[in-house]
Symmetry: C2
Subunit: 239 residues, 2 copies
Amino acid sequence: MEKDLHNLKMLVFDVFGTVVDWRSSVIAEGEQLGKAKGIDIDWAAFADGWRSIYRPFMDKVQNGELPWTKLDDLHRMMLGETLQKFGVDGLSDDEKENLNRVWHRLTPWPDSVPSLQRIKSRFVISPLSNGNISLLTNMAKNAGLPWDCSLSAENVQRYKPDPAVYLLAPQLFDVKPEQVMMVAAHEHDLQSARKHGLRTAFVHRPLEHGPVKGAALPPTDRYDIVAKDFLDLANQLAT
Amino acid sequence: MEKDLHNLKMLVFDVFGTVVDWRSSVIAEGEQLGKAKGIDIDWAAFADGWRSIYRPFMDKVQNGELPWTKLDDLHRMMLGETLQKFGVDGLSDDEKENLNRVWHRLTPWPDSVPSLQRIKSRFVISPLSNGNISLLTNMAKNAGLPWDCSLSAENVQRYKPDPAVYLLAPQLFDVKPEQVMMVAAHEHDLQSARKHGLRTAFVHRPLEHGPVKGAALPPTDRYDIVAKDFLDLANQLAT
């Protein structure tokens, strides 16, 4: 069903898990590195472990325990902790740095790029991500993500769910919050966005955490749009 | 001649005059508006007058006379002053606002887009402009400028030639200043960029100020690259 999109100008997207498949990308590069260096660990568990301390590390910035630290640098600290936990100690600094940059090389879900192209034909599209500006730029260049611009937590030196991040698009583009729609596969992100007046679109990404039972599709009336994938989102946006 | 581009990662571009032809765009929209509203003035002189107070208005921000004010809002103040100077008083607020947004709709010089596509195949490309983020985003979307990201004075709330603007790319992308090349049709911009360690490319745009005698091409040894147009720049970059 097409929605009332009166006055909608811009869509902003969560990236990790919503647009790109971080888990498969990290596993694939990990396995390749493991083969080359003879590191025999469960790279799926490694990917999950690395990602599992994402929120705690950002919280250290939000609560002032760390000064503003961009996500590349948080990822690097988290990597150190994860390597230690998995007993991996044979990597050089360059190898660790290169592994850390896997977050700049994440691959999109197969429907992301064609759907973004369609949505872009009618609206301004941008990531709204905790990823730093160079991460988002390199990822877009590598993966062919056709963003019109790249809005990042780094613009305001605050991480989601800080209000300043959600208000970036209305402030920079001189539009009302309700003229911006936040797209995410995570309900907590959408609920924060809605609290600050943005419209919301949930996109189901049941494979984000691998072949485990994923989150259910929420009721269709919980968000402005509930879509089963990006093609469905593009259809509901009448693009 | 191809240059030693060892280690060069990124090119950042001045926009007004270098990538887009602001003067012809403003004249064309002015003439159209004049016809519709019966305003019979010299729109070329109007465009030149509007642009001539660009630097003085940014200086008011740089010297603290005005708080941080994005370029859209400076353009709007400058427009008010210019309309008054030309005795134009028959425009509504919406019409003035729409005329002010002409800076979001400037047309590129004919060689800009194809050359940027070539340069983008090998390097990260971004504007480095006093234009605000929404202006740069809308301009790129409208004109098909294939930027990888959009770096703006608005990111640091300082106008060129403030060092913070020139240092944006090295800081955000974790590269050395000499791994970034500033491209501009204006020598003062390149000289400031060089002072902060960036490499420099001059591109000749003899028609920026219309059919008057334009600036001469500087000696080829004054900058890392001196190019007669964007195609020449793309050639010298071996892209």
